[in-house]
């Protein structure tokens, strides 16, 4: 038994770190976050060339064929670099839904396009309730006589919908949860930006006004659709949690560096225990988040029955931990930490969005309670 990275995994992490820090230095992050979709084609193409866009999918769909654990450590490095844009929505969320729910043909066409970097996508799940519980899906799709489906209703908080070429939409067909693939240019579909605190990822309201899609666009209906969504949410949750760990590491590095160099009362502020203890607490939170994220990734990659609990432990811990780390980082950096020029707020903003995505700490504690209390 070994709890840590193998040599191959260390190599993957190192190459991810080199790639993302070279391609996404902070000036580039700041440039991209001012663009409409917080991503541009040139950078996405580079991601695809490196294999990141197909990281966990089989080679038969032009994927890279790595495991969930290897994906998580790559995401940790993306989080450290604060890589903006639709990677998690497209690859982890939409990619996994397609892999689990799609037919052979759908996978060749759509998952293949994602792996090759030719298409971007996202999953439209949340509605007015803001709930990540699949029972909260209310938007209806009506089965027409010609076999097609007509969707009416609003999806909210759809991450990166603006840049998506197609959306995977969770709907109700009669009483069953189902998944429909909807091209972005479908008549009756409108996307409206929902401005949020995270400047590196966009949220959208997606409205469906009698949007019609052919029967061939149904991915799954009933238990298969639920299972695919649940699987995708767990994979995305683990990826996001690992990304949060990387963000916490970067915040700690920035903060410790500042505490060593910034002088007050004639000495570096890192000399003072009140400052040291905040840095120590940041490391404490970081290491717990890292251990639990690695564990969740491992459990998921092994299809262990305990994976669900492990994912909830990791997400609940990181949700509060990243937020706290952001608070401490800004506090230690004082007035400097409160400026726009300082990078801390970009991570602090990302921490807020990440805390909420795929269920916040309260959501995951309740999900865990159902496992450990209700049995």
């Amino acid at each position: 038994m070994h709890f840590g990275l193998s040599e191959t995994q260390q190599t993957i992490k190192k190459s991810a770190k080199e790639f993302f820090s070279a391609e996404c230095p902070m000036p580039e992050v700041r440039r991209l976050m001012e663009t409409e979709h917080a991503m541009d084609d040139a950078l996405w193409k580079k991601f695809a060339e490196q294999g990141w866009t197909g990281i966990i999918f089989p080679e038969s769909y032009d994927g890279f064929g790595l495991g969930i654990f290897e994906m998580a450590i790559a995401l940790e490095e993306m989080g450290r670099a604060l890589v903006p844009g639709p990677f998690i929505s497209t690859v982890l969320l939409a990619g996994t839904v397609l892999e689990r729910a799609g037919s052979q043909e759908q996978k060749q066409k759509y998952l293949g396009a994602i792996c090759r970097g030719e298409a971007k996508s996202t999953v439209a799940l949340l509605e007015r309730s803001g709930s990540w519980n699949l029972d909260s899906v209310m938007v209806r799709a009506k089965h027409q006589d010609d076999g097609s489906y007509t969707i009416s209703g609003d999806k909210l908080f759809v991450t990166d919908a603006g840049i998506a070429d197609f959306l995977l939409v969770a709907v109700r067909i009669e009483d069953a949860v189902a998944l429909l693939l909807v091209p972005s240019d479908a008549p009756g579909l409108t996307k409206t930006l929902m401005p949020g605190v995270d400047l590196t990822r966009r949220l959208y309201q997606v409205s469906f006004n009698k949007v019609n899609v052919p029967a061939a666009n149904l991915l799954a209906r009933g238990p298969k659709a639920r299972e695919a969504l649940e699987a995708a949410l767990d994979v995305a949750c683990v990826g996001l949690t690992a990304e949060m760990v990387g963000g916490m590491q970067r915040l700690l590095d920035i903060t410790v560096e500042y505490a060593k160099t910034r002088k007050q009362f004639g000495k570096p502020i890192g000399t003072f225990q009140a400052v040291q203890h905040q840095c120590a607490d940041m490391l404490f939170l970081l290491e717990g988040a890292r251990s639990s994220a690695y564990y969740a990734a491992w459990m998921l990659s092994e299809n262990d029955p305990g994976a669900k609990a492990a994912v909830s432990v990791a997400k609940a811990y990181a949700s509060e931990g990243y937020r706290d780390a952001g608070n401490k980082s800004i506090q230690v950096q004082g007035g400097m930490g409160f400026t726009w020029e300082n990078d801390a707020h970009l991570f602090y903003r990302r921490a807020k969005a990440s805390e909420l995505a795929f269920g916040d700490a309260t959501f995951h504690r309740e999900r865990l309670a159902q496992i450990i209390i209700d049995k």
């Binding site: 890192g270 717990g288 865990l368």
Partner: protein, 395 residues
């Protein structure tokens, strides 16, 4: 990353589980809840002997000194299996977890031969003589004097907060052997026979009402010069070795102990009321129980990662302070959850209405000491700041 047990580890686990099934005393729970501290200790000492004779004590210690010669991972499996089997802990806590490993690391061949097997069998119980009335967090300020006279040291001074001082046959004593020295230099780590003339042990009653700790007075106590562990004058580094083991390893058993209490509290949540409903169905209680579970799980995972790192690097590092903080502070938070859920009954220490014979009220009081013993939380955060993150020294 591979959390599956190897074939060898699986074999070890299965053999141990079978042995425990056949040997764990069935009346431990009664002794745990109802014995006096001294009676309970006698019970645990007998149990340790049985474990030793079964060949399971000192899993990671060298075979030639009575250990099993297996790895640190097997040591962790041992602790986990003991918990699964609801086995009593071993009596010689400090000898097994702290002082033995330090003797393995720093001892001469003769010292290892003399002391290690008796630690494992429980025939010789150990205590630690580190803290003094004026040297707590600032341990390097200790003044207990060891004066070399011929082939003996003459020891004078006072130690305090000695767990198991009342049961100890031997004491791992940190002394100042160079009277002109200051701070970390000029200290020597002595192995002292508690039956030596001039030693007086007094119980120290703590806020729980028990006397787990003692004060030890040394008046012209003769200690053979050969009883120095490591090099004379290098006692600080030897002591740091012990403290690193303390932080790295005590957490494993602490995590398991807290987990058992969480499991018990979850069981009780189906029986008691909170906010007008069964506690198990009260959303607020569910959140708190889940949070306790999460913190305990994160502690377990941090431990696993730390053990893997120790196996690779060979020795526990300053990161052990993270584990110490985690078990002590999460335990205090959990005890508050237990107190809140059990409501009025939580405060009872005995009598017909006490839950589990008052185990939770005792734990509430005892846990208060967790962030003080084995290095205060403040000291742990200083260590993390200064020795892990490399921030400037503040003292």
């Amino acid at each position: 990353m591979d959390l599956n047990l190897s074939a060898e580890e699986t074999k070890f686990r299965d053999e141990l589980a079978a042995w425990l099934k056949a040997n764990v005393p069935s009346d431990w729970e009664t002794h745990r809840l109802h014995d006096t501290m001294h009676d309970r200790f006698d019970f645990l000492r007998k149990w340790q002997k049985r474990v030793f004779e079964g060949g399971w004590a000192g899993v990671a210690w060298p075979k030639e000194y009575g250990g099993r010669g297996a790895g640190l991972m097997e040591q962790v499996i041992f602790t986990e299996e003991m918990a699964k089997a609801s086995a009593p802990p071993l009596a010689n806590v400090l000898g097994l977890a702290l002082i033995g490993p330090t003797i393995v690391a720093y001892g001469t061949g003769a010292q290892k031969k003399r002391y290690l097997a008796n630690i494992l069998s429980g025939d010789e119980i150990w205590c630690q003589g580190f803290s003094e009335p004026n040297a707590g967090s600032d341990l390097a300020g200790l003044r207990t004097e060891a004066r070399l006279e011929g082939d003996h040291y003459i020891v004078n001074g006072q130690k305090v907060w000695n767990s198991y001082g009342w049961a100890a046959d031997w004491c791992a004593l940190v002394t100042r052997s160079d009277p002109a020295s200051q701070k970390h230099k000029g200290l020597s780590y002595l192995l002292v026979d508690m039956k030596s003339p001039g030693i007086e042990v007094r119980p120290l009653r703590q806020l729980t009402g028990e006397s787990e700790f003692t004060e030890i007075f040394f008046r012209d106590v003769k200690v053979p010069a050969e009883n120095v562990l490591g090099t004379a004058g290098d006692g600080w580094n030897v002591a740091l070795g012990t403290l690193a083991h303390e932080r790295a390893t005590l957490g494993v058993s602490a995590q398991i102990a807290i987990r058992r209490q969480i499991d018990r509290l979850i069981e009780l949540s189906h029986e008691v009321e909170a906010n007008g409903t069964v506690a198990a169905q009260d959303p607020l209680t569910r959140q708190k129980l889940a949070q306790s579970y999460i913190e305990n799980e994160v502690l377990r995972l941090n431990q696993m990662r730390a053990v893997s790192k120790i196996i690779q690097t060979g020795a526990p590092g300053p990161e052990g302070s993270i584990l110490k903080l985690a078990w002590s502070e999460s335990n205090q938070r959990f005890q508050i959850v237990a107190q809140e859920m059990l409501g009025a009954y939580a405060q009872l220490t005995g009598g017909d209405f006490a839950i589990d014979a008052g185990a939770f009220s005792y734990a509430y009081l005892r846990t208060r000491g967790n962030t003080i013993e084995a290095g205060t939380s403040e000291i742990q955060r200083n260590i993390i700041g200064q020795h892990v993150l490399g921030l400037p020294k503040s003292y």
